[in-house]
């Protein structure tokens, strides 16, 4: 057996029986552990840098925004976005650092005359987190056994998207069908070490449960191009029931009604080198009611950004972007939704005549408020996307 470092005295548990409780403690709970987790924006680097404004974006976006915006793509293309973030959880006495990486969206677009088709795989909710700690088990006979415990949630919900759009003059209409799918594996493992005071050798304890998710969601959108300088877009989505199927006999299948979502956005090319984009939305997540220990809330979000074009480097265009966004998160442990705010920025590099592009979006923000919500995370996120278009 492996000797473990002794836990500080304050964490030595006493009594006949040691309770290592299941209740998430406010203050050290990552947002990904609340409700269905943290909502992942299926956005590429350009949208992330512009305050999350992937909808109604002139020039097209590989973000999973409005299907009507597909007509902004004039040539077939493929885009892939990867996001990594560093997170600091604020606690009453000390802060904890964690981080995670994820692919946010992978999308292929193929326009055919006035039509455009797209398939995509994108994130929806991230439920990943893990925690490890060392403590000491006090047994009934007064002996103690050190242990190391790991608790993990691994998984989340993703979406597979198939979209079609058609341009009718300045108007574009689009619909998409999304299959929500995913799984979550919850595990805990308690590994005991050697007792220093005669306690018995204890076998490792553990348990796990795997949940699988599935649901359908339909999205319909429309966009209006006013000349080549203004694009206004909107999308509404309606989800079915999210079915949650556990793999254990002890739990039964359950379902949650997915919300109705309305989202609008627009971008304006103010000058030949300056683009202004803004978007916002609303979703009635509160119809889910309580999800585990979490409460669900109706949420709104909005964001805006500026894009400046005019710089070139290594033979390619180098657009610079800046923005900000604010969003409410659908799940919290309190009565009100958690707020997330961030300032954003980034740049792109479009080379080979615009057929290849690299976009970097940086976000610095926080979510929750320790004083009011008992929960607060600050985060630094970088989203890097790469796109290829047919010449």
């Amino acid at each position: 057996m492996i000797p473990f470092p002794r836990a500080p005295l304050r964490s030595i548990l006493s009594g006949l029986v040691v309770a290592l409780t299941a209740a998430p403690a406010v203050g050290q709970t990552p947002i990904t552990a609340i409700g269905l987790g943290y909502p992942v924006a299926p956005a590429d680097g350009r949208a992330a840098a512009l305050g999350g404004t992937g909808i109604g974006l002139l020039g097209g976006s590989f973000s999973l925004a409005s299907p009507a915006d597909l007509t902004q793509h004039t040539t077939p293309g493929f885009g892939l976005a990867f996001s990594g973030e560093s997170v600091t959880l604020r606690g009453a006495s000390e802060s904890l650092d964690t981080g995670r990486e994820r692919f946010t969206v992978v999308r292929a677009v193929a326009p055919f005359g006035d039509w455009a088709l797209a398939v995509a795989f994108g994130g929806d909710f991230d439920q990943d987190w893990s925690a490890r700690f060392v403590d000491t088990l006090a047994l009934g006979d007064g002996t103690t056994v050190p242990f190391e415990e790991a608790r993990e949630h691994d998984g989340g919900i993703s979406r597979i998207d198939a979209s079609v759009a058609r341009r009718i003059g300045p108007l574009s209409l689009g619909v998409s069908a999304q299959r929500l799918t995913g799984s979550l594996r919850q595990t805990f493992t308690r590994r005991f070490g050697d007792s220093n005071d005669g306690g018995p050798p204890l076998a490792t304890a553990g348990g796990s449960q795997r949940l699988t998710y599935r649901a359908w969601r339909i999205r319909a959108g429309a966009s209006l191009a006013v000349g080549d300088r203004v694009l206004i877009s909107g999308v509404a989505s309606k989800g079915g029931d999210l079915t949650i199927d556990p793999d254990t006999d002890a739990s039964v299948e359950s379902s949650l009604p997915l919300p109705t979502t309305i989202e609008v956005g627009a971008s304006v090319r103010v000058t030949s080198r300056l683009l202004l984009a803004a978007s916002g939305g609303w979703a009635d997540w509160s119809r889910l009611g309580d999800v585990g220990d979490a409460t669900s809330h109706d949420v709104t979000w909005m964001g805006a950004g500026l894009e400046f074009e005019g710089l070139r480097i290594l033979g390619g265009d180098l657009p610079l972007r800046v923005g900000a966004r604010r969003a409410e998160l659908p799940f919290s442990t309190g009565d009100s939704a958690l707020d997330e705010t961030a300032i954003t920025g980034g740049f792109g590099w479009l080379f080979r005549g615009g057929t290849a592009g690299l976009h970097v979006g940086l976000e610095f923000g926080s979510r929750g408020n320790f004083a009011t919500d008992g929960l607060e995370e600050s985060f630094r996120r970088a989203t890097i996307s790469f796109e290829l278009r047919q010449r």
Binding site: A7, S11, V17, V18, L20, A22, A25, G27, Q28, T29, P30, A33, G35, L36, P76, F78, G91, D97, T98, G99, R100, R102, V106, A108, P111, F112, G113, L117, F121, D126, D128, W129, S130, A131, R132, F133, V134, L139, D141, E149, R151, D154, R190, F192, P200, P201, L202, A203, T204, A205, G207, Q209, I244, T248, A250, S251, S254, V291, G292, Q390
Partner: protein, 418 residues
Amino acid sequence: MPAAISGVRVAGPIVSALAAAALILGCTEHPLAPPSESAPGVSSETRDVSLDVIELSTWRDTTFTGFSLPTDASFTIVAEVPTLRARTLGRLNVPDTVKTFADTLRAESYDSLLVRVTLDATRSEYTDFPVTVRLVSLTRAFSLDSVSWTEARPGVPWATPGGDLGPVIGSADIAEATDSLVIEPSVSADSLLKAWRAEDGGNGFALLVEGPEARIQIRAVRFAYSATLEGRTTPVAQTQLVQDRTFTTDPPLPATGTALRVGGLPSSRLYLEFLTPDTIEGVPLAGATINYAELVLRPLGPPPGPFALERTLTARQLSLLADPFEFGPKTPVGAAPLSFASLDPDSLSAGKPIRLNVTTQISAAVHGSSGRIRLGLRPEPDAQTLGFWEFGSAEDVAALRPRIRIILTPPAQFESPP
């Protein structure tokens, strides 16, 4: 149409790239290191619960005695102390013939008899010296397996308790603690050995101790003599180990009662059987991780006088492969020892229980195999000491009854939705 053709041309690579990306789609996570009291997520408390076996209707325990007799022990005893009188009894079956390199011949005469006694110096106790050890002929035959201090064989009492002593064959003094002793017979070796040869050992002999109080443990008794074979003149040296030997004690080994006994001679083992309960202290065992399980046996007070363990006795935990309470052939035991327990007289005297690890059996029972657990505890090896120790059984008072202790972690109650 060119656009459509173009789109079809790129669809294949795009779909391939999309599939590849989907395969690697996912997240990685850097673990948090929170204090235990504020760690998020579902876990399950590890519980330390115990059960008095009287609460188990399926509990059965007993002592089985007689697996090994004094005949099987690697030692015998001679003693004259206030708490114990003991004599070693033996029979030397002198062979009719002697085998040489050339042939096998009948012995015509015997001479130069010496009796070499190997003592266990570390397990012999003396109050003073010299101590005399006598080798005495017995006038009544005894049964090797059933002789006792009072009876030569069942239903045939000794005229004198301890054995009907005849002529002294020889004696020797122990002047100091030693591991060997040589007795030079005072009788004719030829007549003695011929008599024993004629009667397959005859009534046998007894070794006894006289003088200051002493308790001597004997490892072996050997008769060394020379035999002159028929038609030969040169005597042949012979050494014979006395294999038919035993010892008797006064008082005899206390009879077993309801207590569970381990050790002693005849050797005792404790056997027990129970069905794993469904719950302990209200905690269901089904599906739980059994981190540790033990049977706690509480020692009774030291056995009387000479029968208390003098030093640590190693005992082996056995798995029983059949019902030990069913009358019939000896219960078969599992091939592999489960674990060992040390019976230390000092800690047993202090009331410290012994603990038999039954984690494997309880865990197997909880996870679907037979819940019936059958265990034994025997000295390892059997017949290693006269001493024994007893433990409380289900028929004792609560403070002495065995207990089952289980440290377990019930299955985590993961929530769905999380």
